[in-house]
Subunit: 429 residues, 2 copies
Amino acid sequence: MLFKKIGIIDEDYKHRPDMYVGTEGDRITYISSDAPEDEARFGDTYDGNGKVLMPGFYNAHGHSPMSLMRGYGENLPLDRWLNDRIFPFEDKLYSDAVYWSTLMTMAESMRFGIVSTTDMYYFTGDMVKAVTQAGMKTNISRSVTNFGTPVEDSVGFKEMKEAIRAYHNTDEGRVKVDASAHAEYTNDIAMLEAISDAAKEYGVNMHIHLSETEKEHKECIERHGKTPAEVFYSVGAFDVPTTAAHCIWVTEHDLDIFKEKGVTVASNPVSNMKLASGMCNVVPMYKKGINVAIGTDSSASNNSLNFFEEMKIFALTGKVTSMDAAAMTPQQVLRSASRAGALSQGRDDCGLIKEGFKADIIAVDVTGPNMCPSDDLPNDLIFSADGKDVCLTMVDGKVLYKDGEYTTIDIEKARFETINAKKKILSCL
Amino acid sequence: MLFKKIGIIDEDYKHRPDMYVGTEGDRITYISSDAPEDEARFGDTYDGNGKVLMPGFYNAHGHSPMSLMRGYGENLPLDRWLNDRIFPFEDKLYSDAVYWSTLMTMAESMRFGIVSTTDMYYFTGDMVKAVTQAGMKTNISRSVTNFGTPVEDSVGFKEMKEAIRAYHNTDEGRVKVDASAHAEYTNDIAMLEAISDAAKEYGVNMHIHLSETEKEHKECIERHGKTPAEVFYSVGAFDVPTTAAHCIWVTEHDLDIFKEKGVTVASNPVSNMKLASGMCNVVPMYKKGINVAIGTDSSASNNSLNFFEEMKIFALTGKVTSMDAAAMTPQQVLRSASRAGALSQGRDDCGLIKEGFKADIIAVDVTGPNMCPSDDLPNDLIFSADGKDVCLTMVDGKVLYKDGEYTTIDIEKARFETINAKKKILSCL
């Protein structure tokens, strides 16, 4: 595709108006203020009038099938939400329900400009089927909890390894499989060590929850005399590239560990506020040079995948938790929303509008009254744009969403089947 | 207009599917699950398939013309933002710039479902002209700061009274004019007393800033031995219905004053986080029975008027500041977004979908993937809907916005003139 006379957010996160951007196959192969001589090689053209191209969003922490539980059991304390609503519902989940809800989640993701998700759940095969059909990218993981079950008896651990063997680096590399320990408090040390060893053996990344609540953080210290980050460090989890979700209650020493081991922090500001877990102050993390990415968490605790909203609240959270209106540059925030997530997924050639990089691109309509007048476009995209200003989402050079149309998903059928699956599960409760 | 087979958020903030809602003139005159016998009297019909009607939003605190400064001077500390950017820019403001930017702000407001704004600025005549043309509602005020100027020499005070005399209860009551003391720290006691006396004399409401920053709050106590709320109480400001914006640093005694005098708190969560002023904990305010409304503040510190986003962040803020995931019911939040603002503006017959009430209504598309599956629609409208899911905005029975079209505003001309006005001002700096 050739995008003509379009604004772009370039690799330095600066706005450059009236550019030409060409994609061939799955790559960006042309970026210039001049029109290319041979337009034909890029295939279709796209009129960039009133639009801006930016890197698609890398959602650094999600649980896609949980969109089935969107709004289910709202406004309850965390323990009642989990025990009375989420766990009984999940107990009735079945293969097709996971497939359809993941497909619907992919539709919502691309609608809001997300191109890839670092995803953690179970029913991995059904999720991979949906993501592959959608044409999206994922670093997926079958998350392990053992609660004392011996390593050799853990179904979760077995399924985690099977998922890696079956799906890692499939669908032309769009699907990667990570190892995953759900969290410190849901696993014993033997299991954490086994998972870490498996990650190293298979050469895959790690995805965990870490210090989401004060209770979890404090109880870990009581249990082990170490913070969750220190526990994961000691079992060797961080010897592979790791994404640690939440990281609200972390210590200065935890941050030093993240820096030393190259751990990515996936901050989930909306979910953290909604579940009253707290607010992650990412400003000191930036100062230390830690790779900070942004996640939505699941739609059950958000309750949407509106990544423009998430990015704005991420920026607001950094400002208010550090009590500094000047904290968080637009460049930091935009990088966290795209490039930082791509790097955390081991996709070094993704997450920037740059020649030779994968064509994971979104086009944003900047003609709405919410963008008028515009002052500095990178900043305006963070604070003024609306989620539904996204008018095109492209992954690996293929248009997946454009102006209300989903090219890989029968949206009416997906909606019907998702609603149906939820009804079916509720009827068993 | 007759809305047919449409979901509604009723006066108890419950969802009722498949309803018929009819408007005649500026009122809602028919609500039933049965079709009316004489459809013709309602004029046009509206197919409610996939849509939900809810009360339009009452934006309880804004500075409309400041959309001109959207994104101007971002990511600076508050004092540099004001002194280096906002104040010099405002010094060059002129009549037409205010008119066009207010008109553009009205377009953005209706696009996001806002029907009325409690607005504070100067150039009141130009603002009224724009709001009236747009067909929107406003409680507008010419805000007074005196910084020691004697009452009789204050241009602001003179203009405030002139604005009340000229525009209060004009445009069929859509335009009301409030008295306004900008804040305690920008006025001396004599001026605060004079403004309060004028409000009582003219029988109008009061609009003020209160305890937005810790500095302002503490310096007031040093100056007067009283909190800002206590100062306003002592000068008689609260003897008329008052909207107090921000209220972040208020004390228990301040809340008792609000309750006693019926003061409305206008919470502005996005602006407060963005300027790193802090976060307003509204949960104790609800518990005391205080009227809590929601404001966007200006686009210069937000930087949009996306009221769905504001409502969500308002709810998130209440949950996280009280560290209680169960805090803030959907009914409380929706009431704060609509009815509470209408009451604060002295519009007792506004802010609910109810027979006999003014037809200030928005229709929301609930078929997007962000709303699938839906569980409890009032909750989903707060946490899952996107600002641009608004597909119709009606004020006093007149459709102002529908499916991308603005019926009272030449949007292209407004955009052109707003951008031009900004360029003109920048060229003088």
